[in-house]
């Protein structure tokens, strides 16, 4: 995103946070409306199929409870992604304690978008989704955050706990991998 646009977004979020702190619930509502959909997309891209709504809600609850720790070094949305990703990882760990690890990963990667298959008529889109699902988890995260959320490499690195350079490499590798997977499918 353009730096000016980023700054404007951040300023708007900070103003809404201030309104909420001053007791105006509309500030919180506006923040939810601005970011909830992006959080749900990110959750879906992470293979979360059930209770996305609950995950997004938990993310906001955590964020507002710890709002004093938001330093505005990054955008509010990036900060939310970071919180949501931690929650997703926590849930996966809890799930893995009950189920076999490899089984969970395979299922998540292969069927992340199954529930939406019936809604998607266009064959190319489905092939692309399949290709994305076959990326490594890190490539998939970077690719999704870059394309659907428009995060910069620096912001992606913050969300994923990586470096800007590594995020850039993962992104380009992901693009290359998706292209090759599509080409392979086309040859079949």
């Amino acid at each position: 995103m353009h730096p000016d646009a980023n700054a404007a977004e951040l300023a708007a979020d900070i103003e809404l946070i201030k309104r909420w702190r001053d007791g105006d619930e509309k500030g919180a509502r506006a923040l939810v409306e601005r970011h909830a959909q992006a959080l749900s997309r990110f959750a879906a891209s992470q293979g979360v199929r059930d209770e996305v709504d609950e995950l997004v809600q938990d993310t906001f609850v955590r964020a507002f409870a710890a709002i004093d720790t938001f330093r505005a070094d990054s955008s509010f949305r990036t900060w939310l992604f970071t919180i949501e990703r931690r929650l997703i990882l926590d849930r996966r760990r809890a799930f893995r304690r009950r189920k076999d690890d490899s089984e969970v990963d395979e299922r998540d990667a292969a069927t992340a978008y199954d529930s939406l298959d019936t809604l998607v008529a266009e064959e190319t889109a489905q092939r692309i989704r399949d290709a994305i699902a076959r990326l490594s988890p890190m490539q998939r995260d970077v690719f999704t955050l870059r394309l659907t959320e428009g995060l910069s490499y620096k912001e992606i690195a913050e969300v994923l706990g990586s470096t800007e350079g590594a995020a850039r490499v993962h992104y380009h590798n992901a693009v290359q991998a998706v292209r090759e997977l599509l080409d392979d499918d086309a040859k079949l």
């Binding site: 995103m1 353009h2 646009a5 909420w20 702190r21 001053d22 007791g23 619930e25 919180a28 509502r29 939810v32 409306e33 909830a36 959909q37 959080l39 749900s40 997309r41 959750a43 879906a44 891209s45 996305v52 709504d53 997004v56 809600q57 906001f60 609850v61 507002f64 409870a65 709002i67 978008y113 939406l116 809604l119 998607v120 190319t124 889109a125 489905q126 692309i128 989704r129 994305i132 690719f143 999704t144 870059r146 394309l147 659907t148 428009g150 490499y153 850039r168 380009h172 693009v175 998706v178 292209r179 599509l182």
Partner: protein, 181 residues
Amino acid sequence: MTMRNFDRGELLDRLPDYDRGTLSDMERRAIDAALASDPTMARELELIRLARAALAVRDPAVDTDRIVAAIPRPVRTRRATGIGRWSVAASIATLIVGGASLVVVKQQFATRNDSAVVSESLQVASANGAAQPIATSFGYDLSELGADDLAQVMAEMEKFDGMPAATHVARAVVPVAEGGK
């Protein structure tokens, strides 16, 4: 506006932003120019568009009302009210009165004939005997103490008092105690 030269890698990095329409005019024009002569870049842009479209249809619905209802209320600085405010006021008053009393007592010791003050105290103790202790806050009857003991007690008390008069009182007590022997 001067046209900046971007290398190909920079332009590829910016393709998602180009597709989202978030680039500056200069960046957008640079990519427009590159796309016209670079089919590989154009193909990558097409892939990005398709991927964005494929991912966009998956937006799970979120219940904004439910989320907002779950968000905690902002933590605001709690103001002292009712009993709490009176408690604070009473505590402060107690400290002030108590402190002032100590200062007055110390000043009396310091300004009066110190020997006389202590002598009076000792005489009262002697007259009343053990049934009328001078002070009970020490946990024992002061009348049971010798002059040296009293001097030591007073010296110990002075260690807890930052008042300038304290050292004067301590010095003043010693001769009386010695004289009382």
